[in-house]
């Protein structure tokens, strides 16, 4: 079994960036060997729609940018639909009281707020007996929105409602 094939299987299955150390330890190879194998793999995938790219010393197998449009349709989304809905309501109404959000969503609100906070999309701070919820800088970065365009997004959401 060739080293690069073993590492190929690992990178494929992991679906997240892995460091040389992580890979070396998992497959029981020297870091040097892992590094060389990755170079070989990169060559193998040159003509493919997939590439092995590097960021911050970690390696990940992903679809090349020019094929991303096709791939997008089939890749599952990382947030559940119900969470996206809750996040969209927060983004539109922010700052919104948790108690007001509860009126819109029912008791799911506690779980959703906890999860969205854990994922870094929202911040909460105490306000009287409830919490006041706003979106974070990470939220704006994630959706590629300039925070200054906050109102533009609201307008966009509003317009979409009238169609």
């Amino acid at each position: 079994m060739k080293a690069e094939r073993i590492i190929e299987a690992v990178l494929f299955a992991a679906s997240r960036p892995l460091s040389i150390e992580e890979i070396a330890e998992a497959v029981g190879m020297e870091k040097k060997v892992v590094k060389k194998a990755i170079e070989k793999l990169k060559n193998f995938y040159e003509e493919s729609a997939i590439e092995i790219s590097e960021a911050n010393g970690k390696y990940v197998m992903e679809v090349k940018a020019e094929y991303a449009e096709y791939a997008k349709k089939f890749a599952p989304v990382e947030l559940k639909k119900s969470l996206i809905k809750t996040l969209s309501l927060i983004a539109y109404h922010q700052p919104i009281k948790q108690s007001d959000l509860k009126k819109l969503l029912g008791s799911n609100v506690y779980e959703h707020v906890r999860e969205l906070k854990k994922k870094g999309f929202i911040n909460t701070r105490k306000e009287g007996r409830t919490k006041l919820i706003t979106t974070t800088q990470y939220f704006y970065d994630y959706f590629g929105i300039d925070k200054k365009d906050k109102e533009a997004i609201k307008n966009l959401m509003e317009k979409s409602g009238k169609n």
């Binding site: 494929f12 989304v77 990382e78 996206i84 809905k85 996040l87 969209s88 506690y110 007996r129 997004i153």
Partner: protein, 260 residues
């Protein structure tokens, strides 16, 4: 009362199923302050905790609660809105209890009935052997190794979700309104006639020179239902007086108050 429940929960926190939920409980309790009566609020709080699945429904003795509540109603009277809410919560708990009971019964039924029944494969050497091998983990299905990469949510998806969320909220509200609306519809159909009815009542009453008369002398039985609402309006505005001699079956009298 609110503080008492919070203190109770804080002191019992070691026994809570999920200690990290304390904040949530306190929020629920604080939400309950709209019920002014401490006793009612305590009951509602306990019931809500059950419904939020923080307390096992079977730990709630509904019969004990209801006799406690009845005693309280006898002593202090009843607030119908609060009682309605508590009744609704109790009903929900009863349903939770029966669901649990049905599940439990289903389990028992299967456990008891099939004890002596021997599966077919015990008679077949190969099937029996293979089954044993699976049980010993010697052979099992092997899951395929595939990617499970998930992608980011796009801005368009966020906007679409907003759209859907709004529609759902509107639908939910419409559904709530629908439950109340039959009454409202009736109101509106009568509204057009109400002024005519008031006129009719006033015409009849004005002929009596301020004398009190039994309602049924003035109107046919079938009319009474239609004029009840105008009568109430007039009474509320202080134009007429309505009273009943003997409750609940006695004669109802009406009388035009002296004008000016």
């Amino acid at each position: 009362m609110k503080e008492e429940v919070i203190l109770h929960i804080l002191s019992e926190k070691e026994n809570l199923y999920r200690k990290e939920n304390i904040g949530k409980y306190i929020e629920i309790i604080e939400d309950k302050i709209f019920i002014k009566d401490g006793f009612d609020r305590a009951i509602a709080t306990v019931f809500e905790l059950v419904i939020e699945k923080q307390i096992n429904p079977w730990e709630i003795d509904l019969a004990a609660f209801s006799s406690l509540y009845l005693k309280k109603v006898k002593e202090k009277g009843i607030n119908l809105i609060v009682a309605g809410k508590i009744l609704f919560l109790a009903w929900k708990i009863l349903r939770l209890q029966s669901e649990e009971m049905i599940k439990e019964m289903e389990r028992k039924e299967e456990e008891e009935i099939y004890f002596d029944d021997i599966p077919d494969w015990y008679g077949d050497d190969e099937l029996f052997l293979q089954t044993q091998r699976i049980m010993k983990d010697e052979i099992v299905l092997k899951p395929k190794i595939r990617r499970k990469a998930k992608r980011k949510v796009t801005l368009v998806e966020l906007i679409n979700a907003f759209e859907e969320a709004k529609e759902e909220i509107v639908k939910k509200r419409a559904k709530k309104r629908k439950i109340i609306s039959p009454v409202k519809m009736e109101d509106s159909t009568h509204k057009e006639n109400i002024e005519d009815d008031i006129k009719r009542v006033m015409e009849k009453l004005s002929k009596l020179n301020g004398r009190a008369v039994p309602l049924k002398e003035l109107f046919d039985e079938k009319d009474i239902i239609a004029i009840i609402l105008p009568l109430l309006f007039l009474a509320k505005d202080g134009v007429i007086e309505i009273w009943q001699e003997n409750f609940p079956y006695g004669e109802i009298f009406i009388k035009l108050k002296h004008e000016g």
